[in-house]
Symmetry: C2
Amino acid sequence: MLIESKIGILGGGQLCRMLCMAGASWNLNIKVMDSKECPASSVCNELVVGNITEYQDVLDFGRTVDVLTLEIENVNIEALEQLEKEGVKIFPKAHTLRIIQDKGLQKQFYKNNSIPSSEFKLFSTKLELEEFLSTQKTFVPFVQKSRIGGYDGRGVELIKSPDDFFKILDCPSLIEDLVEIDKELSVIIAKNPSEQISYYPAALMKFDQQTNLVNTVITPSQINNETEQKAQELAINIVNQLDFVGILSVEMFLTKTGQLLVNEIAPRTHNSGHHTIEGAVTSQFEQQLRAILDLPLGDTSFLKPAGMLNIVGKVGDQNKINIKDLQELLKIPNIHLHLYGKKESRPGRKMGHITVLGESIEEIEALFKKLNNELSKTSSK
Amino acid sequence: MLIESKIGILGGGQLCRMLCMAGASWNLNIKVMDSKECPASSVCNELVVGNITEYQDVLDFGRTVDVLTLEIENVNIEALEQLEKEGVKIFPKAHTLRIIQDKGLQKQFYKNNSIPSSEFKLFSTKLELEEFLSTQKTFVPFVQKSRIGGYDGRGVELIKSPDDFFKILDCPSLIEDLVEIDKELSVIIAKNPSEQISYYPAALMKFDQQTNLVNTVITPSQINNETEQKAQELAINIVNQLDFVGILSVEMFLTKTGQLLVNEIAPRTHNSGHHTIEGAVTSQFEQQLRAILDLPLGDTSFLKPAGMLNIVGKVGDQNKINIKDLQELLKIPNIHLHLYGKKESRPGRKMGHITVLGESIEEIEALFKKLNNELSKTSSK
């Protein structure tokens, strides 16, 4: 049986890989544009080698599919606008990507729509920011974010004191008040063209302080019902105000004073939703497919408390797991291993993840400890 | 991260397809031998076009992998024996396949090892069987099974009375007493080279009376604890007596008098285990990978009661699902759709399946009804 739509995905990293695997269950016809040995290359129906930031590459690729989606927001939007004119269904829509791609426009969007987010200022260059700081010495500490292209902890600098000014990025950027964070949360929400909306319960993210990468994710997020409801309302508000169709990840701060602030959004699946593959009735990847194909959205409830631990490249990593190490790892019950097939390991690079289900948060956290212990042995060889 | 073993799979149908998908989660390097457009072709790392019953094809293929397994028992065993001599790890082992491949030897094995199974007689030809029947007129009703090559209801004839004698197959066959069946059960069991054994709870299979194909499967199987334990002991007994390594499906009859009889075994994953993908902690496909790679076997417990409904080709089937039909189907909550990517639909051909999880057997059976209703609409177009 064949579902007739031909689906295109821009970007072939691990998010696309897992999207293709969800699509394979339905025997969807999926083609991907990225480089030759990208993680999705071995699981998609067709790989088109091309550059997703190049107008002509995206245009040519988009013309061969019925529905176009993405796994990363840094794509050529002009090409998407042209393809929309030509009748290709593109979710998320080009005009919403314009806002999301530029963190300055994102912040402006929150402000215009009364969506709580930390205070910010925009700067075109490093010089402009330095001039501002020379007159506003009391402004530190703050966070500087590159307006365009930041990803996985890159393009973000924490400036704690004037001693950190040397770290300031020289690019169009925004600076934000540093808020006192109690928890970092994520709500993944989907909307289909028929305007059905569905969201997952909030996930609790813990970050590696050095790399600024997501380290672990747990659902439920251990916030009270009122905060959970506010987080969901925020996410709904954003998809509606943005006219968003597809799957959207909303990262939020819960401040020490109990306030919810939107940190940033991503117009795609997210690292904070990988545990939906085994933990939830519908995975975030199947949900993206349902959303872009205008199918009824799936049940987002969790079967059990679930957690996710990233496997990150380390210095000296051989990028190989021998069977002995794997034997030790897989002795730990109730874990689900995912490796992304990246050809090269680099320190800080996301190489895979492990999902664990448990009866309680405590059980999951105990499993994380065991896993960290095993993984440190594995990758030190 | 790469797990270094190169895995070969003989046969590229839906069982292989789902095995490859389980392997993709671990980024395993999997190559498959079958025809060009087989269901596994779009999800394996490499497809080698060849005939799994041909000595040279299997030999050449096996020499390029570290571990060889299969999705169908009708393979060239002489080639496997040669490859074993050359040091290729083959699970299941060739000498166990010799017994399983021939239903006559299978029956003899049960008899020799005091494994309960229905009474049987062996015949070399149709003529020999007819001569026997002419002297034993009271022997009807019985079941005739081809000794070699039967699959998915083929190679099996139910002879209710002398009027059915025209249906008798002309091949080496066995005939079995027709037993009065209360339930048909399946236990899927795995054993790794380190002799760890793990089995799933028994599944209840219901068959289509016309096609003799599995129609639905449910776990738990609604048998009492004593019968459940006996079924498990039978399965353990078989893997141990057979010196079996890999994953083995044991189909059993529970007779109206409460006796458990082994019907037949398959040295691979089985249609009665498809609901382990979403229903159990470890899927039967991941379990096969764990077994053949000598990894610790995974947890076989079910998260919830789970059921599976086959999607079978019908007369006039277009082999296409349009989005409208899919929208109706996917409105049903808690279902998981699997389509196998077969290029052609034929009446009685397994085209896909749907897994449903529920809080109770009743809920699952109600979902089966809804699904049958939707599917009959879909495929009648």
